[in-house]
Symmetry: C2
Subunit: 198 residues, 2 copies
């Protein structure tokens, strides 16, 4: 039972990878990248520290370009992030070897998030199972499990040594002369999973 | 990390109990009963076969009486089942020793099901975490895991040797002169988890 799990190296996607493994799945972590930055390397590093298989899935740049246009038009990144995530799931699900896809989206997430009809549509169109281990968990449960399992490094920084969609999206906005701070909320801290607690 | 898990002895609540245990929780199974029938005994038997702690939580009969009225008024059991489940979660969450409650509700369930605001309200009002291990899983994933884990006995029967809310609700309707078949869909088969596959 192999599952391909969209992975940013963050707390949520790391926790869900662990749950999948505990459920008996053979888990391969997949980090999406558009070839603009090598930001996938942070996720790969965390994946290695946690002992998971990892691959990078390159997606066409026109996806992130369309996402950037959406973010500029909206003045916030929500629809852009949602768009990228749906494309990431579809691309992963369309690979011939993939029968099961998963991600770390949570009950309390607003984006990215697939509602019931979108989740079923993904499964039906690509003939895959879509598994979200954190969907039935609240923030308190997730925090408790993350604290128990992972060493998390929290740093005061605007630099994003992360592998999520935001990194390349900010970069692309910057390249086209748009200050990412007009789109994304300012972040004072960033956290990274750096290993197992035991 | 102890979790109190609403348990009917069926496939969904058995699978979710297993996932909770794999996630490192100490799991106590809780079967709700209104004192009309000793139908809790089937869940207790399955719990014992699977090696879980088990208790019966008796709820006031006025809850199932109100549920029966709803079912008769509606002509179908959905709102009644939803009502009982919410009361069951609230009763369990209000016990002083309980910090985490869970159930086997699924992504594709219509009832019983707590939407996001009801789930958060349960957590906030009773200061508990509410965990639903199957919420992020589709029917295909659930079937695959159930088939892998459990021996399930399927029998052609109208008799409900089960411990879910429906059993006592049907009984109460019958007692008050109402044919349960006018409320509940006719079932040709029933399934029961009878043990671990290995």
């Amino acid at each position: 039972m192999k599952v391909y799990h969209l992975y940013s190296g963050g707390k949520d996607s790391s926790l869900s990878a662990w749950i999948l493994e505990r459920m008996g799945y053979s888990v391969e972590l997949v980090t999406v990248n558009f070839g603009l930055l090598d930001s996938w390397k942070y996720a790969k590093e965390t994946a290695e520290r946690l002992g998971f298989e990892h691959r990078v899935l390159y997606l066409p740049q026109d996806i992130i370009e369309r996402a950037a246009e959406m973010a500029v038009k909206d003045g916030h990144p929500n629809n852009a992030i949602q768009f990228i995530h749906e494309k990431a799931l579809e691309s992963l699900a369309s690979l011939p070897e993939v029968e099961r896809v998963s991600d770390g989206t949570r009950r309390d997430d607003r984006v990215p998030f697939l509602d019931l009809s979108k989740a079923r549509s993904l499964e039906d169109r690509f003939n895959v199972a879509y598994i979200r281990p954190l969907l039935g968990l609240g923030y308190r449960t997730i925090r408790e499990l993350v604290d128990k399992l992972f060493i998390v490094e929290i740093r005061e920084s605007e630099e994003l040594e992360k592998s999520d969609y935001e990194v390349e999206l900010r970069h692309l906005l910057g390249e086209t002369g748009i200050d990412p701070l007009t789109i994304f909320p300012k972040r004072h801290y960033q956290s990274r999973v750096v290993g197992w607690r035991e």
